[in-house]
Symmetry: C2
C-alpha cells in the first residue's frame, strides 16, 4: 500500500513537467540518446540527465549504456494505477454532483 | 495550447502528494470545512490551507466562505485532459513494444 502510494507520488510528479512529458512523447516515436534529447529540447546535457533520471525513477523510461551513448526507451510502466486513480476521482465527482442535484430537486419540491 | 500545458503541470503536480489525494477522496464522500480536514489529516490549519490552495488552483476543489467557515467541495475539473494524456502514453508504449516485437521477429527469421 505504501509502495503503491509512493509510485503515484513519483509518477504524477514526473508528469507535472512539460519537458518531461515532451521527452516521453519523443520516445514514443523512437528510442534516443541523451545528447540527442538535450539538443532536441535545447537544454543542457546536465539538465536532460536530471529529467531522464526523474522519468527513470518513475519507471516511465529505461536507459541502457551502449558504448559511450546512453539510450533511452519508453516504459516499462503502463500508468494503469494512475489511470485508475483518475477514473476513481471522476466517479466520485459524478457521485457528488448527482447528490447535489437530488438535494436541489428535493429543495424545489418543498417550496 | 500553452494554457492546456499549464493545466497539466498544475493538476499532475497537485496529484503528486498523498495528503492532497487523500483530501480529494475525503471530499468525494461529503463537503468539509478546512478545520475539519486539518483535524482529519492531523496537520496544522496553515498546512491544510496550503494543500487546499494547490487543489483549488488546479480546479480540483472549490472553496466557499460560509459565515466563519470555509467549505471545500470536489470539482469542477473532471481530469479529462489528464486521462487522455495517460491513454496517449499507453498507446505510444504499446506501439513501441509492438515494433520491438516485429524487429525481434525479423532478426530471428534472418538467423
Amino acid at each position: 500500500m505504501v509502495q503503491y502510494l509512493q509510485k503515484l507520488n513519483t509518477t504524477f510528479g514526473a508528469l507535472a513537467d512539460p519537458t518531461r512529458r515532451g521527452i516521453l512523447k519523443r520516445l514514443g516515436r523512437s528510442d534516443a540518446g541523451i545528447t540527442e534529447l538535450a539538443q532536441a529540447f535545447e537544454i543542457t546535457l546536465t539538465g536532460m540527465k536530471k529529467h531522464v533520471g526523474v522519468l527513470e525513477a518513475a519507471g516511465l523510461v529505461t536507459t541502457e549504456k551502449i558504448g559511450r551513448v546512453r539510450r533511452c526507451r519508453l516504459g516499462p510502466r503502463r500508468l494503469d494505477d494512475e489511470s485508475a486513480w483518475i477514473a476513481d476521482y471522476q466517479r466520485m465527482l459524478e457521485g457528488r454532483l448527482n447528490r447535489l442535484g437530488e438535494f436541489l430537486e428535493r429543495t424545489r419540491e418543498k417550496q
